[in-house]
């Protein structure tokens, strides 16, 4: 199984401006969030990238990724019918191939630039199945993530066989259905925002989109895939940053800066900021 395509979803009403925001990346270059994500995919040997956008947003997005224009195709999502529907909109682009999927409101900071997506793709190709990156997350954050119920798989220690997926569960439901053996009490495997999905997801979404009158979630479709075929969760050591959260963009910027070339400069800046504030408070 070779992964050559990626789908980035960026059509949600609240997220449409996020991929356009500029940040300084680890190399000290000013880039848009979308460009950083595309580079994450490119480093994972992805050749074609489909970006699902709100109709009419294409031009604005194109402007912030001039260097990747050749490998990016914009896919409009004609109606706001949910995250699962956004992925489904890319069915013609994926054309029956497995694909890497990233969300546009998260940035990832690992050991090296692009290491997160590469790791997921590498495991998916080796295991020849769908893989979702996950991270052990405290139950107080369950309200913002899809969560997997899983059993440990293999000797590597970072892989789990997914049994079920629940979108934004309450801690009550999580405790009843999503406890993973070996995990600390109150921690669950929440989606990291990076998946390698097999064509089965599009078959299931086809059916759901055709029959559902409510919003189509990706988690529900993933749960159905997991019931049909082997799906793995891969626990990541890296960090994800939700740029859409309060101070999310600032936090992501700091994380990128502190893990890159300008680390000393930014640290000095922070210390100075603290010292000045301290002085002002005393006066």
């Amino acid at each position: 199984m070779k992964i050559r395509k990626a789908v980035i979803t960026a059509a949600a009403k609240s997220q449409r401006r996020l991929p356009l925001q500029n940040l300084i990346d680890r190399d000290g270059q000013e880039r848009s969030v979308l460009a950083i994500l595309i580079e994450e995919a490119v480093k994972a040997q992805i050749e074609e990238i489909g970006v699902v956008v709100w109709p009419g947003d294409e031009a604005a997005y194109e402007q912030v990724i001039p260097e990747h224009a050749a490998r990016v195709r914009f896919i409009p999502q004609p109606a706001p019918r949910g995250y699962g529907h956004a992925v489904w909109c890319a069915r013609e682009f994926t054309a029956g191939d497995p694909f890497l999927h990233l969300v546009s409101d998260h940035l990832y900071v690992g050991a090296a630039a692009g290491a997160c997506a590469s790791r997921v793709v590498e495991v998916a190709e080796a295991e020849r199945c769908a893989v979702s990156a996950v991270q052990a997350t405290h139950e107080s954050l369950l309200t913002v993530y899809g969560v997997v119920g899983a059993q440990r798989a293999g000797a590597a220690g970072d892989r789990y066989r997914i049994e079920t997926v629940v979108e934004k569960p309450t801690p009550t439901e999580a405790e009843q259905r999503l406890v993973v053996p070996g995990m600390r009490a109150g921690y669950y495997l929440c989606f990291f925002g990076i998946h390698v999905l097999t064509p089965a997801i599009m078959d299931i979404l086809d059916e759901t989109v055709a029959t559902s009158t409510t919003r189509v979630t990706l988690s529900q479709a993933l749960a159905q895939v997991a019931a049909k075929e082997r799906c793995l969760a891969l626990e990541m050591n890296a960090r994800r940053y939700d740029v859409g959260a309060r101070y999310g963009l600032l936090t992501a910027q700091l994380a990128l800066a502190l893990s890159g070339r300008d680390r000393d400069e930014v640290l000095t800046m922070l210390v100075r900021l603290l010292a000045v504030q301290e002085h002002v408070d005393r006066v």
Partner: protein
């Protein structure tokens, strides 16, 4: 391996179900002690909960029922105070070690066994409660709530539907309605958690969800409702419209303060639902922060309102558990823990709600059975215990799971026409009795583990009856079903627990059977005991008439018995309907987003008192909308008048008002206002009070040795017997039974006449205390050829009911003279001093409760201290029924009363040969006319011969002591410290033989003076001045609403007869008597062991009941 350990650990049910009693009866004392050692070892070594608990109950039973009667255990060892302190502090292991050390040192003895029995029993129940608590906390879906200790960890969010105001300024209202449940099979109490967890195959209940209304008043509807909405203030507002209580909570600490107000149940629901997780208790965090996370916006809060639709407390229909479940369900829907915001619940959600309701009951310090939340489920269902399987938190700990399985009976199992027939046959009632089911549930658990032969057979029969009831339901034969529920009540239920039935219920059944004959199909007991919620099955043709007649019969029977039986309310008949939906919810939006009408009578007056501009946007909008609804909606017609009733004060001064009646009563009863003011002034000045009751610490208080008193525990010499018999034949003795008290411990301050309480079934019928004492006198009359005159002393509280009762019962056929001696003194209760409350609760040793119950009681005590300060310490207590505000002034006055009211004068005129009195408390059932003891008294030539018994653990309240060299009785109140009591071997039974002439001499009187009122009054006054006055706290019940009760501590004063023994000129003798003769029945909870230890059977043997 020991025999008893083998029974406990046996895998084979035939061996495991063997009764303890059958082994113990034939075992020697040495063998029993060896078995105790083996059981002690087993309970420490066994990892199995069931084995540990059963070993503990075996040990408790051996020490309570089998060792004390053995001659080898006749010693009278003193109990160590440290052991008692451990026991009060629930440190049972330490207590057991302390008591066993005494047993090793001094050999077996009844006092030590009494203490060991209490400690083992306490530890057994503590182990069970701990296990249930652990299981409740360990249930998946509950654990996270105990981890959440900071708003930052809080994971619940309110559903967006509840936050959307739409076009109006009103937030939507979520309304949950839930039926209550009735238990068709009764189940033999098998829904007690421990039974379900230990014997899942025997834990089975047929449970029906029902809607209710008071007969003829409205259509049956779900009896409990919860209303929830967002408010635009950062507070948690709770209200109970039926209890008319509300609170605006601004701190987390207040949420966990359960007994601060009447909103404890709502608070339990808020916590158990996870809305405010239990892990936040004591966190010091901000409630507003938590609410901001919950609602997503700072400045918003939640309002939760509960409503019980006219169902009185104690209905035995699990109203409070289902209300708790209803509130929990609403909170869990609102926070997406239950997926469906509206409509009925799915099975997974029902189970979750039931698990949280169990948690809520534990948090609130209450406790129901596992079937109680049955109202959450629809229709008719079989609830069964389930064996624990691998993966369950209970696996390896108990045989069954904490939560049972619910099997719904659809129309294919119980046909719609059968349901209809059941509805048309059953008359559901609340008999009105006030009840405490707690002791019954403990008895059931204990008996189950002891496998006493009769009870175990009863349980097996109850299980088989359940199968038959299910079969009859399937067949649609409700008549046969009625005969089965009646058989269940007559047989297994009362075999397992005789106290489940009572005289009132027996009287109702008898009258109904007599009136309706074969159209009465059977009686059906609901819940833990009869007298409250009950069912009567009739031929549908007579059901309408039966409803009317039952109301009349219950009311008349209540009036006949209310002197001696505590009733909380007037009996009622219900209309009911099977609820086929279970708990359901609806969302009221826009113009419909109003709370229930009765909520506004509570809330609107407070809002109207506020300045207009300080009202929030929602509050203004709500008032406008409510005003509009009052003007135009038929359902709210009449609200204006209700509101005015609640807005404007009502006159308290009409002639029928309580304060007026109290004043009239005080005038009638010769209340001494000057003395009362003196007491009040001294109390307020701190000259009298609980701590001032005590003797100076410099007093020398020593124990009295067995050789310093007469030992009448063994047969006395024939010489004394003959002397007594002769005197009895000569008519020298009269009996005085003290019956002026209300038995405040017997009914927890209900204010009924204890003497008239039909407390137990003896010789085939329920008997009152009065009847028992007369039956003993009847036997004495036959044995000694002369019926002794019998005097019952009475008080303002007991005189009229006693006189009426004895007249109705024709003195129970007693052939001798029978007199009532009416009290001549009465006191008016006072609001207690806060310092006395603190002294009682903080300085004196107190029984600690289970950790959660202790929190509740401490919170209640803090509120009561605030009540005393707010109401005015030392003020007159007048906020209750007039009779509940008065108090008798102590039994010292009983003898003077005989002088002042002329009863003794008349008796002596009629029977000049009477020279002695046998005086005893009404609850000292074993005090019979023993000629040998009478002979002892005669020979001793004492004014007073006092009967004492060896002190057991529960014998608190003073006893016999040598004080500064003189042997005398001392009240517990007067001991300088609690510890001293543990150095005193003998406990005062309150029974005395009184030489009339010698005692009159103490008053400076002779027989001839009894006609001289002034001289008598002067004599009494002079002696009274020498007697100490004690200040005591008594619990008094205040009833309100529908069967609601509050208990208040009030201050009263008393003088006690035992202090006569302190008079230097009073010649006194003391005799140690057998326990069964001297034991007093102070609390209902004592009845069961009194019954089981053979005391009841012995009492029957010394009674000759009247056979009309």
């Amino acid at each position: 391996m020991s025999e008893l350990a083998r029974i406990i650990t046996a895998a084979d049910p035939a061996a495991r179900d063997r009764a303890l009693d059958s082994y113990c009866r034939s075992a020697s004392t040495a063998a029993l002690l060896d078995e105790c050692a083996a059981l002690e070892e087993l309970r420490h070594a066994s990892p199995n909960l069931y084995e540990r608990v059963r070993a503990l109950f075996f040990l408790a039973a051996i020490h309570r029922f089998h060792l004390p009667d053995r001659p080898e255990a006749a010693g009278n060892a003193l109990l160590p105070f440290t052991g008692y302190q451990h026991l009060l502090g629930r440190r049972y292991e330490e207590a057991i070690r302390a008591f066993l050390a005494v047993q090793r040192r001094e050999g077996p003895s009844a006092p030590v066994s009494s203490a060991l029995a209490a400690a083992y029993r306490g530890l057994a129940f503590q182990t069970l409660a701990d296990q249930v608590r652990r299981s409740v906390r360990a249930v998946r879906g509950n654990q996270w709530m105990f981890r959440t200790g900071h708003p930052g960890d809080y994971a619940l969010r309110l559903r967006p539907e509840l936050l959307s105001r739409g076009d109006t300024a009103l937030f939507p209202v979520l309304r949950e309605t839930t039926p209550v449940r009735m238990d068709l099979s009764h189940s033999g109490w098998s829904d007690i958690f421990f039974l379900g967890m230990d014997y899942p195959e025997g834990a089975r209940v047929l449970n029906i969800s029902i809607d209710l209304s008071l007969h003829g008043q409205a259509e049956p509807a779900p009896p409990v409702e919860a209303w929830l909405r967002v408010i635009d203030q950062p507070v948690l507002r709770l209200a109970s419209v039926d209890l008319r209580a509300e609170a605006e909570i601004t701190s987390l600490a207040e949420v966990f303060d359960f007994a601060r107000d009447y909103l404890g149940l709502l608070k339990s629901a808020v916590i158990a639902s996870g809305l405010i997780p239990p892990g936040l208790e004591g966190s010091g965090q901000s409630l507003a922060d938590l609410l901001a996370r919950l609602t997503g916006s700072p400045g918003l809060g939640i309002e939760i309102v509960s409503k019980v639709n006219d169902i009185p407390k104690g209905s035995r229909l699990a109203v409070s558990t289902n209300l708790l479940a209803c509130l929990i369900s609403a909170c869990m829907r609102a926070t997406s823990q239950i997926p469906a915001l509206t409509g009925p619940l799915e099975e997974a959600a029902r189970r979750l709600v039931a698990a949280r309701a169990i948690l809520g009951e534990w948090l609130g310090g209450s406790g129901g059975g596992w079937q109680d939340s049955g109202g959450v489920w629809p229709g008719i269902k079989l609830i069964e215990g389930e064996p624990a399987a691998e993966g369950d938190v209970e696996f390896g700990v108990s045989r069954g799971r904490l939560l049972p399985r619910h099997r719904l009976f659809g129309p294919d199992v119980v046909k719609p026409e059968t349901r209809e027939l059941l509805q048309n046959s059953l008359v559901l009632v609340h008999g009105g009795m006030a009840q405490d089911v707690g002791p019954i549930l403990e008895m059931v658990t204990e008996r189950y583990l002891l496998r006493s032969a009769q009870e175990w057979l009863g349980r097996q029969e109850a299980i088989s009856l359940l199968d038959q009831i299910v079969a009859q339901l399937r067949q649609g034969d409700v008549r046969a079903l009625g005969s089965l529920t009646q058989r269940n009540y007559d047989g297994p239920i009362q075999t397992i627990i005789p106290w489940a039935g009572n005289h009132y219920t027996a009287a109702l059944i008898e009258q109904v059977r007599a009136e309706f004959g074969s159209a009465f199909w059977g009686f059906w007991m609901l819940g833990g005991m009869a007298g409250g919620g009950m069912g009567f099955l009739f031929d549908p043709k007579v059901q309408p008439r039966a409803k009317q007649r039952l109301a009349e019969i219950m009311s008349a029977t209540r009036r006949r018995l209310e002197g001696g039986v505590p009733f909380a309310m007037e009996p009622v008949v219900y209309d009911f309907r099977i609820n086929e939906h279970g708990s359901t919810a609806e969302l009221r939006e826009g113009a419909r987003a109003l709370m229930p009408p009765s909520y506004y009578t509570l809330r609107v007056p407070a809002l109207l008192r506020q300045e207009q501009r300080s009202l929030t946007r929602s509050q203004r909008a709500e008032l406008e909308r409510f005003g509009d609804a009052c003007r135009h909606e038929p359902a709210l017609r009449g609200m204006t008048a209700d509101l005015i009733d609640h807005l404007l004060p009502q006159s308290q001064d009409d002639p029928g008002s309580a304060p007026r009646r109290l004043r009239a009563l005080l005038d009638d009863l010769g209340f001494d206002a000057a003395h009362h003011e003196k007491i009040r002034a001294e109390l307020r000045a701190g000259r009298i009070g609980l701590s001032q009751n005590r003797l100076p610490v410099s007093s020398r208080i020593e124990d009295v040795g067995p050789d310093e008193i007469h030992d009448a525990r063994q047969p006395l010499p024939d010489r004394l017997r003959r002397l007594g018999e002769q005197a009895l034949a000569d008519g020298a003795l009269a009996i005085v039974s003290l019956a002026g008290g209300a038995g405040s411990r017997w009914t927890h301050g209900a204010g009924v006449v204890k003497a008239l309480n039909p407390f137990a079934r003896l010789a085939g019928r329920h008997r009152t205390f009065v009847e028992v004492h007369l039956a003993k006198s009847r036997r004495a009359a036959r044995l000694f050829g002369s019926a002794p005159p019998h005097i019952f002393t009475t008080s303002y509280l007991t005189h009229a009911p006693m006189a009426a009762h004895l007249e109705r019962e024709a003195n129970y056929g007693y052939e001798g003279p029978l007199h009532l001696s009416p009290g001549r003194s009465v006191g008016l209760r006072l609001i207690p001093m806060a310092r006395d409350l603190r002294f009682a609760w903080e300085e004196m040793p107190q029984q600690q409760l289970d950790v959660q119950k202790q929190k509740v009681i401490e919170s209640a005590r803090a509120s009561l201290i605030q009540w005393a300060l707010g109401a005015g310490e030392g003020s007159d207590y007048t906020d209750n029924l007039p009779l509940q505000c008065l108090h008798p002034v102590g039994h010292w006055y009983e003898f003077p009363n005989l002088l002042r009211n002329g009863v003794l004068r008349d008796l002596l005129a009629e029977r000049p040969g009477v020279r002695h009195l046998l005086l005893h408390n009404i609850d000292t059932l074993g005090a019979e006319i023993d000629p040998a003891l009478f002979g002892l008294h005669l020979e001793s030539e004492a004014a007073l011969t006092v009967e004492v018994i060896g002190r057991w653990l529960d014998d608190r309240g003073g006893g016999l002591a040598r004080i500064d060299g003189r042997i005398r009785l001392i009240e517990g109140l007067a001991l300088p410290s609690e510890e001293i009591e543990f150095d005193l071997s003998w406990y005062n039974t309150g029974t005395m033989w009184i030489g009339i002439d010698r005692t009159l001499a103490l008053f400076g009187l002779t027989r001839a003076d009894l006609g001289d009122e002034a001289k008598v009054a002067a004599g009494v006054r002079a002696l009274a001045a020498r007697m100490p006055t004690y200040i005591t706290l008594k619990d008094v019940k205040k009833r309100w609403g529908r069967g609601q009760e509050d208990i208040f501590p009030v201050t009263q004063f008393e003088k006690l007869w035992g202090d006569m023994s302190a008079l230097a000129e009073a010649p006194c003798a003391y005799a140690a008597v057998p326990r069964r003769r001297g034991q007093q029945l102070k609390e209902v909870a004592q009845l069961d062991s009194w019954w089981r230890d053979g005391s009841a059977a012995w009492l029957e043997s010394v009674c000759e009941f009247f056979q009309p």
